[in-house]
Amino acid sequence: MAKRFITLLLIALLAYMFLPFIVEVDETSQLNRVAEKYVTAGPLELGAANLVTAVIVTYRGLDTLGEIVVLFIAAVGIGFLLRKPSKKKIAAPKRSSSEILRTGSDFLIPLLILFGVYIFTHGHLTPGGGFQGGVVLTSAALLFMLSNTEARFNKQLTEVIESVSGIFYLIIGILGLILAGGFLDSRFLQLGEMGRLFSAGAIPIIYSIIGIKVGMELIGILEKLRKEEI
């Protein structure tokens, strides 16, 4: 009890400590220099309609690469952590999925895949992007796993796709370094007309690769956790 009280006290103090953030930092009314530049010059420089995408993929491309890497290593790390099967197995009660689930997923999975691909290919135009698309793809896979408890994803295939897409991402980055201003510069391709699918330089390509890679990584994580018996 005493410990809880102390913890409460500490947290209260922490809250007190955070007060300046609430009290002193008032609501923004103006864009700062960086944001201003992104918002005003972004469309011209990169040709992307979705400026958030522009920031993610190009201006802060290295972060995004890092993000991909984080997911990648999370997937690898989970695989690494779970490399040894449990010694004492308590099998979860197995039961096949219900009819509704199966029929529903049969119907939904293609749509979800399509939607996912749409999201990452149109990341530079509309809200969404590689990560979001990838997650939608994964949700399709999750649905599939739920409906077909016995079926397995081809681990080899997902891994190969994942690796290859990762390499492609890097290659595009290098292309940017060689052909344009710097690593991950998306402008080595034509900017094209804003609003078109094939515009904004390499952004759609990058986002597609990201989408595929994120999808595969998340599927990999799901697959590993799924087969895991505790």
Partner: protein
């Protein structure tokens, strides 16, 4: 400050409370997730400017001064990364929980105090 950021901080505090007082590892992880969520709210709230719109050039904003009508895109970009990283960490935490459970058949944090001093 905006309500959202205050809400975010409240979530952070709540999550922290959970993380520091709950003995169950899964509950601690949930606490962490709550912290994370609160954090994301705080980040997003930073970029928000009242009365402005998302920084996507579309028909709705055509012809307007983007600098005056868009909110800050940077926090939106950052929060995406933060979410992904939070996801990764949460996933690892859960896997750790799985592994720990295997050793002791327990999820109580006090059961894992062999290493000390």
């Amino acid at each position: 400050m905006t309500v959202i950021s205050i809400l975010g901080f409240i979530l952070i505090i709540i999550g922290l409370w959970g993380m520091l007082t709950q003995k169950n590892i899964i509950k601690m992880i949930i606490g962490f997730s709550i912290i994370d969520t609160g954090l994301h709210l705080v980040i997003v709230s930073i970029g928000f400017i009242k009365g402005r719109t998302a920084p996507i050039i579309s028909k709705a904003v055509e012809g307007l001064d983007t600098g005056k009508n868009f909110i800050d895109p940077v926090p939106s970009a950052l929060v995406l990364t933060a979410i992904v990283i939070g996801l990764a960490i949460t996933a690892l935490m859960l896997v750790y929980a799985v592994k720990l459970f295997r050793f002791k058949r327990s999820l109580q944090i006090e059961d894992f105090e062999e290493l000390k001093w």
